[in-house]
Structures are given as structure tokens and as C-alpha cells.
């Protein structure tokens, strides 16, 4: 038994190392003085200082954050509403509507981005942050609807019916019963949406007019120009930020478990 336990333990360590070692190397190099990744390691904050003066990267970063926050809010709100409509009302073509949610997740983003670029061009929407927002919302919606929908499935309409018999009007039922019960699902969906937007390279790259970039696009551009440890520095900041966000969310909601 001890052997099996040691083996599982070692296996898990290897698995996590596989994921985390490249990340740690990158984070460490952000604190190495050499611009060419030379060893021995000499601690320095020079790349963070340079980063502080890199206006292009900062602007790209703030674009990314604004875009991600906005598309998360829009996608989570309208996606939750769509999930509610699908879960609680039978409508014509219900099954087809539900099935149509899946292809956008299977189709490569490159193809979706191409189609959006063409459509936005012909429809006059054009390129720019507004077009990127539309694209990010569209990409996030299926994930939001499916995650929130799963949560709605796990408790039937009985709780809402009960609330109505107890004298609660539809708004009271939504705010006091439905929303608190599906909140963990909505939070998870929001995280998905944020990740999809913040991580989005292809659509942003296609839809960004000259002079407007997001962080992934700018990082890609910098790498092409010549890789500097500044990128390691900003990546480290993003990683620490994401981890903090996850830690806060998981403090409020137990993922996988029932709340």
C-alpha cells in the first residue's frame, strides 16, 4: 500500500512539474539581470523598471483588462438570461437551439475570427475595440450558457414554484432564490468568460486596427521584434494576478462541491 501511495504521490508531482516548471523558469528569468538568459542568476528588478516605462505595453494591458471586464459582464449577464430561458421554458426549436451552442466551441478560433473579420467588414461594424468586444462576447457566450445551464439543471423548477406559492413575485423569486442558488455556476461562467477574453489572441489580432493592441497581441509583436525579459516580467504579473483572482473566488465558492 505504501508503495502505491508513494507512486501516486510521485506521479502527481511529475504531472504538476510538467505544467509549472516552464512557468517558474519564465518567472525567475524576469528577475535575472541578463537579457540573454545567461547564468549564473543575478537578481535584479531592471526588467520591471523598464516595463514601468513601456507605454505601449501598458496601454495594451489596460485595453486587455477593460475588454475582458466588459465582455465578462456582458456575456455573463446575457448568457445567464439565455440559460434561464432555455432551462425554464419550452419553446419551438428548443433542442436545435441547444445543440447549436456546441459547434462554436469546436470550431477553431482562427476560423471564427476570419468569419467575424469578413462579416464586420461587410456590415460596416469595422475593426476596433467595439468589434473586439462583440467578438469576445460571442466567443464566451456558449461557455456561459452551458455552465450556468448545468447549474440550473441540477435543481428543478420546484424551488421557483415553491417561492411563487409562498407569495414571492417573479423578481423576488429570481433575486432571493434563483440567483443565490445558481451563483456558483454564474461565478464559474464569469471566470471562463474572463479567461477567454483576456487570453484571446486570434480575434483581437484580426480585429485590432493599427495603433490599438491587446496584451496577447503586443506580447506576440514584441517576441517577433526580439524577446526581452520585460515580457517575462509582465507575464509574471499576469500569473500572480490570475492566481489571486482564483484564490478569492474559490474562497467564496467550493468548486465541484455543492454550496
Amino acid at each position: 500500500m505504501l508503495k502505491i501511495r508513494n507512486f501516486s504521490y510521485g506521479y502527481l508531482i511529475c504531472l504538476l512539474a510538467f505544467i509549472y516548471v516552464p512557468i517558474f523558469v519564465m518567472m525567475a528569468m524576469g528577475f535575472n539581470e541578463s537579457s540573454d538568459y545567461e547564468l549564473p542568476f543575478r537578481f535584479s528588478l531592471i526588467w520591471y523598471q523598464q516595463l514601468a516605462g513601456n507605454d505601449v505595453l501598458w496601454r495594451a494591458g489596460s485595453n486587455s483588462v477593460v475588454l475582458a471586464v466588459a465582455s465578462t459582464m456582458v456575456a455573463t449577464v446575457i448568457g445567464t438570461m439565455a440559460a434561464l430561458a432555455m432551462a425554464r421554458h419550452r419553446m419551438r426549436g428548443h433542442a436545435i437551439l441547444q445543440i447549436l451552442l456546441f459547434p462554436p466551441m469546436a470550431v477553431p478560433w482562427l476560423i471564427l475570427a476570419t468569419s467575424m473579420l469578413i462579416f464586420f467588414y461587410y456590415s460596416g461594424i469595422g475593426r476596433g475595440l467595439h468589434a473586439m468586444l462583440l467578438a469576445h462576447v460571442a466567443l464566451s457566450l456558449p461557455y456561459v450558457i452551458i455552465v450556468v445551464g448545468a447549474r440550473l439543471q441540477s435543481f428543478g423548477a420546484d424551488l421557483e414554484d415553491a417561492s411563487a406559492t409562498l407569495g414571492a413575485n417573479p423578481w423576488q423569486t429570481f433575486s432571493r432564490v434563483t440567483l443565490p442558488v445558481i451563483a456558483p455556476g454564474v461565478a464559474a461562467a464569469g471566470l471562463f468568460a474572463f479567461g477567454i477574453s483576456f487570453d484571446q489572441f486570434v480575434t483581437s489580432y484580426f480585429l485590432a486596427p493599427p495603433g490599438v493592441t491587446t496584451l496577447p497581441v503586443e506580447i506576440y509583436a514584441s517576441i517577433r521584434k526580439g524577446f526581452t525579459p520585460e515580457i517575462n516580467a509582465i507575464s509574471t504579473i499576469i500569473i500572480v494576478g490570475s492566481m489571486l483572482l482564483l484564490a478569492i473566488v474559490s474562497k467564496f465558492y467550493q468548486f465541484g462541491g455543492s454550496k
Binding site: F155, A162, L166, P170, R176, S258
Partner: protein, 360 residues
């Protein structure tokens, strides 16, 4: 306390009549059981009263006012669901306080009323627990307290004891009845459990295919079922087919297929019409072949029978018998030490007033 009047309520789904011109009146303070197999329309009627189902036709009146077009939350009803539908994110106290909170009752009064009703359902001190920390019976009581705390006009119960095991169910039946009497609320119960309906209801209605087959006090429906469906659904019974010979003296006579004559004190259709009779197994006396049948001055129905199988159930024995007109089941209290074995020849007898004539 309120009366509920169901007038010609119809609900169709495509060509299917879930309810077909159902009319019923629930009196003030009455405990009324809606009984029937699944798909018979009893649940559709309950959900129509709650406002979850929009009837295709007819009216539902509470105290004389038509509520058919009023949304559920304005109907002033209490309902206990089969799975209780307690709010998992709220403590017991907040669950019960919910109907008061959404009606904006002052918090001091909410405290008073919730604590009072917690005592009524014997859950004092459980207010801070979460529903999932309670047993099934306790959850059921919370659901009942929550449905009653706002003093609604009507209480609807949808198979409320279905999820409990048998012992707990019997205990909860008694408690439910006590609480209902104490509160005095008009209560409508949906159940497919005939024993539950018998124990709890002042009156019952038996449903079949969207129609009401029979309405009455449980004992009356049991003793005088109107047709074969009501007889069979409500307890076990024996059927005999034959044709009417009309009245012969005070009693009516019926000739069975094998020529046996059966007497009944029920009214018979005109001579020669085919009819179905039913006799409850516990009305029948079973005796050994040689024993004299004492008729105490009345005319008894007597048949010779052979025991196919005795089913021993401790307090009672149920005999499966074959007689020349039909197979028969007879219920016997386990009072005498002697029991009949399979293959034994016996005599069975019953009184004419226990030969119930059914509607064709």
C-alpha cells in the same frame, strides 16, 4: 378558512384530456384527498389550483372569487411539494420566514410567528440548521411550517409523505392531521396511496382519465364503490359477473354464470341485465366443510370453495380460493389457531348487504 369551488375545469394537451369538465367543492376547513393512478388528472387539478397549469376551460373559485387568471404568488395558498423544495441556501428559520419576508412583515413579528410555528411542528431550536442537516421527516415538517406560516386560505399537499419510509409516514400522517385540525385550514391532498387518503381525508375523490369517478367520505366510498375501478383502486376486492333476476322479496337476486344465486340488498337493474358484483375479502367468513353455517335468521350467501393458497401475514391470513363461479380472496383475522392448508375444502359466506352492485 376558505371554500374552494372547481367548476367544469378542463385541461387538454393536444387531444389528451388531462382534466375533463371536473367539478368539485372543497368545504371550509375540510381535508380533501384526490386519489387516482398516475396520469389520472389529480396532480393537474392541484397544479391548476396552484396556478402552475392554465386550465383550458372552467373556473376555480376561492370563497366565490374566480382565481383562474390570478398569478400564483397572489393566490394566497400554501403548498408542500413531494421533494419539499426547501431553499438549500437558507437556514430553517429563513425558509419558514420567507413567505412573511416577501410580504414585508416587520421582523419582530416574523420572529414571533416563525418561532411559534416551529413549536407547532416540534422543531423548536432547529431554526439555525440548514435543510440538508435535517432528516426526511424534519424536512417535511419545515416544508409544512413554511406553507402554513403566512396563514394562507388553502393548503395544497402534493404527495407530501411519498419520500418517507413506512413507519415515519404513518407517524407523519397522524401529525399532519393534528396540525391541520389545529390550524383549521382547507387542505387538498394529492396521493396515490389509498391508505394515506383513508387516514387523512374527510372526503375523497377518485380520479380516472381526467374524470372524477366517485366523491364521498372514505368509508362510504370504500363500502359502496360506484364502479369496478373505484372498488379495485380503493382496497382489494372480489368481482362476480352475472345477470339480474330482479327483486325477490326484500332482497335482489343475481344469477352467476354457473347458475349460483347471489343475494344482495342493493338495488338491481331490470331482470336479465348483465351486472358486476363485488365483495370485499374481509366481509367473507371462511369455515371448514363440516361446520354448520349459522345464518342468524338472515339469508346468507354461501359458496363451496377450495383453498389454493393461504398467505400468512401474522395478524391476518389471506386465503386465495377457487369457487365454481370465480376465484375469491378472503381475509381472516388470525384469531383461531386453526388455519386451512392448500387443497382444503371450505365454505365461505357473506351477508347480502355486502354484495355491492356496481355500475356497468
Amino acid at each position: 378558512m376558505s371554500s374552494v369551488d372547481i367548476r367544469q375545469v378542463t385541461k387538454t394537451y393536444g387531444d389528451v384530456h388531462a382534466l375533463d369538465k371536473v367539478s368539485l367543492t372543497f368545504a371550509e376547513g375540510e381535508f380533501f384527498g384526490l386519489l387516482g393512478p398516475s396520469g389520472s388528472g389529480k396532480t393537474t387539478l392541484l397544479r391548476s389550483i396552484a396556478g402552475f397549469v392554465n386550465p383550458t376551460g372552467g373556473q376555480i373559485l376561492v370563497d366565490g372569487t374566480d382565481i383562474s387568471h390570478i398569478p400564483t404568488h397572489k393566490r394566497d395558498i400554501g403548498m408542500v411539494f413531494q421533494n419539499y423544495a426547501l431553499f438549500p441556501h437558507m437556514a430553517v428559520f429563513d425558509n419558514i420566514a420567507y413567505p412573511l419576508a416577501v410580504r414585508r412583515v416587520a421582523s419582530a413579528e416574523i420572529n414571533l410567528r416563525v418561532n411559534k410555528i416551529l413549536e407547532l411542528v416540534q422543531l423548536g431550536g432547529y431554526g439555525s440548521r440548514r435543510p440538508r442537516e435535517l432528516s426526511g421527516g424534519q424536512q417535511q415538517r419545515v416544508a409544512l411550517a413554511r406553507a402554513l406560516v403566512s396563514r394562507p386560505r388553502v393548503l395544497l399537499l402534493d404527495e407530501p409523505l411519498g419520500a418517507l419510509d413506512k413507519n415515519l409516514r404513518q407517524q407523519m400522517q397522524i401529525e399532519l392531521r393534528q396540525i391541520q385540525r389545529e390550524v383549521g385550514i382547507t387542505t387538498i391532498l394529492v396521493t396515490h396511496d389509498q391508505e394515506e387518503a383513508l387516514t387523512l381525508s374527510d372526503r375523497i375523490a377518485i380520479f380516472r382519465k381526467g374524470e372524477v369517478v366517485q366523491v364521498g367520505r372514505p368509508d362510504d366510498v370504500y363500502e359502496n364503490p360506484r364502479d369496478a375501478f373505484a372498488a379495485e383502486f380503493f382496497g382489494s376486492t372480489n368481482f362476480l359477473k352475472g345477470k339480474s333476476l330482479g327483486k325477490q322479496g326484500v332482497l335482489g337476486a343475481v344469477e352467476l354464470s354457473d347458475g349460483t344465486r347471489i343475494l344482495t340488498s342493493y338495488a338491481l337493474p331490470s331482470s336479465g341485465s348483465p351486472i358486476t358484483l363485488t365483495v370485499r375479502p374481509e366481509k367473507v367468513l371462511i369455515q371448514g366443510e363440516g361446520q354448520a353455517v349459522t345464518d342468524q335468521g338472515t339469508s346468507l350467501n354461501v359458496l363451496s370453495a377450495t383453498v389454493i393458497q393461504p398467505v400468512y401475514m401474522g395478524a391476518s391470513v389471506t386465503y386465495q380460493l377457487s369457487t365454481s363461479p370465480a376465484d375469491f380472496s378472503v381475509f381472516q383475522q388470525n384469531r383461531e389457531a386453526k388455519r386451512f392448508e392448500a387443497g382444503a375444502s371450505v365454505k365461505i359466506s357473506w351477508l347480502p348487504q355486502h354484495t355491492v352492485v356496481l355500475d356497468a
